[in-house]
Symmetry: none
Subunit: 196 residues, 4 copies
């Protein structure tokens, strides 16, 4: 008759995930500016007041979305095998594929990046994730330099930064603000890195 605790918790976790996803899509479509708790609750079929049982404040929900997005992105960068050059190529291809399949991810990422400048809590989350990403890229590049894949004088850290920066601004390209396709610029990056 009565659901046991784990079931309740499970249901609660599902609800939380559904709310995060709904908020994520809201932000992708209308930006942080257009994020409304009532909308999010309605998308999940919840009363707007009930939402506060899962997220005490709007800020808490936003932080959950930030965590969700950064973790989604981190999944793109987990691999262990192959040469440094193969790893980097795989990573860039994974990113490119993600851009095509789910451009929303990069839109929200940009929104988060902007908000991180004003919100220390968000900044902390983003910073941690970005540093991890940067370290990963730097590691690959340094390994490649040691193996002779890239010239000795390539600045690994700077190159890693350039890659991240380029990635994060691709939503601007996808938004058709630039008269080219994202692939082109990405290909140029690969050429610079002599990835083919």
């Amino acid at each position: 008759m009565m659901a046991d605790k784990s079931e309740i918790t499970h249901k609660g976790e599902e609800r939380v995930q559904a709310l995060i996803l709904a908020a994520y899509h809201s932000i992708a479509e209308k930006g942080f500016e257009g994020l409304r708790l009532r909308d999010v609750a309605q998308q999940v079929g919840l009363n707007h007041a009930t939402l506060h049982h899962y997220f005490p404040t709007k800020e808490a929900m936003v932080q959950a979305v930030v965590l969700y997005v950064t973790q989604r992105l981190a999944q793109t960068a987990t691999f262990t095998e192959g040469t440094p050059m193969e790893q980097l190529r795989a990573h860039l291809h994974a990113l490119q594929q993600c851009m095509q399949e789910e451009p929303a991810l990069f839109v929200v990422l940009s929104e988060i990046g902007l908000r991180a400048q004003r919100d220390p809590a968000i900044r902390a989350i983003v910073q941690q994730q970005t540093e991890g990403w940067h370290a990963l890229l730097t590691g690959i590049l340094e390994a490649g330099i040691r193996q002779g894949d890239w010239p000795r004088d390539l600045d690994a850290e700077a190159t890693a930064s350039a890659i991240i920066a380029l990635t994060q601004s691709f939503n601007l390209i996808n938004a058709k603000l630039l008269p080219i396709r994202a692939e082109q610029a990405m290909k140029q990056l690969e050429r610079w890195l002599e990835l083919k």
Copy 2:
């Protein structure tokens, strides 16, 4: 005793400029999300109702800010003399200087880029400016390729896009989301382009 017409107009234009600047700084500090007409008016020492004497709606004011920012950026890219390689180097240096002296410009530029995805009026302004910038860069690169400054197989358009994309995401770097300085990534770009 009586002010001449140009003086009156001049005063009005000054007010308009002051309001645009105040809005610009508000956006830089708090984003579009935090842009409040009452704040902007107060910064200029005006009643919030008077603001509507200069801008009929909030949207009109925002568009004025967008125009201001894109034109400010366009000024960085106006030069006529020197070889293609010198021109590109000068341009990148001017951008770098701008990033250091007034990082707010790039914060607002990112805000605008995000908003352009949802607002056709803003998109039109940004698109026009970005296309102009892209054409300028492509022209320089193509000229350089013809002169042998860069290899024959350099994709001028893609490279131009990469430069723009990199530039537009530098605010994320300046926001200390990356453990490096903007200069480093910019230097890497210059190295790729064999600018020194």
Copy 3:
């Protein structure tokens, strides 16, 4: 301990009715021109924001008032027994009584009539109600003509219109714009119709 559903709904409906009544009195006193949501809410002891919990917009509330007024008036015209002449006499007496007891009803009715000319939604409501009233009167008059209560050449439709028009302008009389009492003009109408 726990209120049942009908009670909850009942309370909500009571609030809605109270708000409609408050708006009705506001319009009677200050016209549509002077109708303020904050006033209405305060009359019911509610925060003005809460009013939007019951009526999404001011227009929705106004329409509710229009429906309320037209239905109130329709109640004056519901009867089934008696000869046509008796029915008409009863109807006119009911209207007269209403004018004396609640002149506000006719003030608001005039406000509505004026607004109906510019507002299609209100016009639809008023039109429907007025047409019903006109049909009722025409029916009574035609029945009376068949029974010989009134002369064969009496134009039933035109007479019905004249009665309605006269009724709707009585608020002007009650407002003491005419140096006579409403009863007098109403009596004259009855004499014309040989109602006594």
Copy 4:
């Protein structure tokens, strides 16, 4: 070089008249609710601030419109020759013609009637005019009764009131709130008065 005083005054009076007319048309179209001084000024090609040189306040302008409308209507009722029955018939025909040619006049008249209930200054103007009209009608009717045109027991004052009341509500008919034409009801009034 410089216009003499009478010319200036003349020009000023023309301006005042133009403003009154513009306001009149605004009220006819959008009601008192939609009357905006800026609109009125613009219609006459005047700066909104300049309008205040001719009418110190909005209320003053409204009163001028009220006077204009009541005087326009009074012109319909000025005649000296003919038998009482001929005079009344002529008057009703003149009114009917006015309704057809310029229904706006009756719309504004209704607006004024409603506003008169709340505004003593307007009430005073309307009352004076209405009383005059009522007296005129009563005079004609009494003269007709003495001459045997109408039955001895006709209540002259009540009949006059009924005529005025009917007239003032014709805009509701013209607004197509009633499924008949104004002429029909007016004809019925004439039949009651045995005008043909």
